[in-house]
Symmetry: C2
DNA sequence: GGGTGTTCCTTGAACCTTGAACTATCTCGG
DNA sequence: CCGAGATAGTTCAAGGTTCAAGGAACACCC
């Protein structure tokens, strides 16, 4: 049996519960939901990855990095901050920025106040790539997702994803819940 | 710019349409939903990948391959079928099976009726790995997803993901829509 | 039986990701 | 100042993914 492997940091729920709702396997309904989730997310991820690889010459996540930079104050962000925004490791970001730098879309700048630090800065060329490719990407997202869902479904999806994200990364940016436990 | 988003009806959009429902960018609400989606799905994917890498020694998608095989008639599936079930390319599957074979969890068998064909067959050892690791994986999925959603949300999520998946892979198993267009 | 085209699957090179080890810098208590 | 320990970011090696190319078997047609 099982030894409750992860369990460790359950946030709100009382940890001592006998948990009658932890059966060995998923119910038939849950299985259907889970499979639909897996299918949809992998298909969408692949779809967008290919779309961007084709139209912008980079994978989806790299594109996301450029977007984050474009939205940031002086079009720059510290490496660690950027990594957190994008939900990736610093290592991965390091490689990604190296590649984007090679393409001329991002440049690095030393941080004056912390000599360990680096800023990733969106170049004009990077900005231009975004400007050129954003519409196509938005269309792809809209056609694959929003165009197919009712407003109620969109709302529901947002709420659900918000919950899931917070469950996996409790201290989300902007959230300032006191650190229970 | 703005609203009146859905209404678009069919995806078979004529390129010449004025397309009043295709604004340049997402609305604020859509953006929130989209970002929540990206955060949640990348976090969950990473979470499960790490969980399985740690507990079963393979990434999530490889685990999924073993599950598919375990559910199949003689614990075997033709390569192409397996690739379609898992929503991956045949090339990727080829590499994946090579690795799983090296681990002793899958073995290949020639198809007698089609000499081009190969079966991927789950070995006893592979079955054993599944038996050992499935509970932990199910717990992880439950804790990250189902435990946090109301029954209504679960239902809604299932419907939404079903729609999205079908949009991206119209000829899904069971669906037999004629090929309009 | 010799085209022509398709399907099944594999291969190799290029690229991306991961996790751990590593350098350099900062911080803070003595 | 010193040193222990945290933090910022990179690097290395191992592995995973993609894309384009290719070999082999099938199918059909004359």
């Amino acid at each position: 049996m099982n030894t409750a492997p992860s369990s460790g940091s359950t946030p709100a729920s009382a940890p001592e519960q006998p948990a009658p709702a932890a059966p060995r396997w998923l119910t038939a309904d849950e299985q259907r939901v889970w499979r639909a989730y897996l299918h949809a997310t992998t298909l969408l991820e692949d779809h967008l990855d290919r779309q961007l690889q084709r139209d912008a010459g980079m994978p989806h996540i790299y594109y996301g990095l450029l977007v984050k930079l474009a939205e940031s104050p002086r079009r720059r962000l510290r490496m660690t901050e950027l990594a957190m925004h994008a939900k990736i490791t610093r290592s991965r970001l390091s490689h990604a920025v190296a590649r984007l730098e090679k393409n001329g879309w991002v440049r690095r700048e030393d941080c004056p106040s912390d000599k360990r630090g680096q800023f990733a800065v969106l170049t004009d060329e990077g900005r231009e790539v975004l400007r050129r490719t954003a519409p196509g990407h938005v269309d792809a997202v809209r056609q694959a997702l929003f165009a197919r869902l009712t407003p109620e479904q969109q709302k529901s999806l947002g709420e659900i994803m918000q919950i899931v994200a917070e469950g996996l990364q409790p201290n989300e940016a902007g959230a300032d819940l006191p650190w229970l436990r």
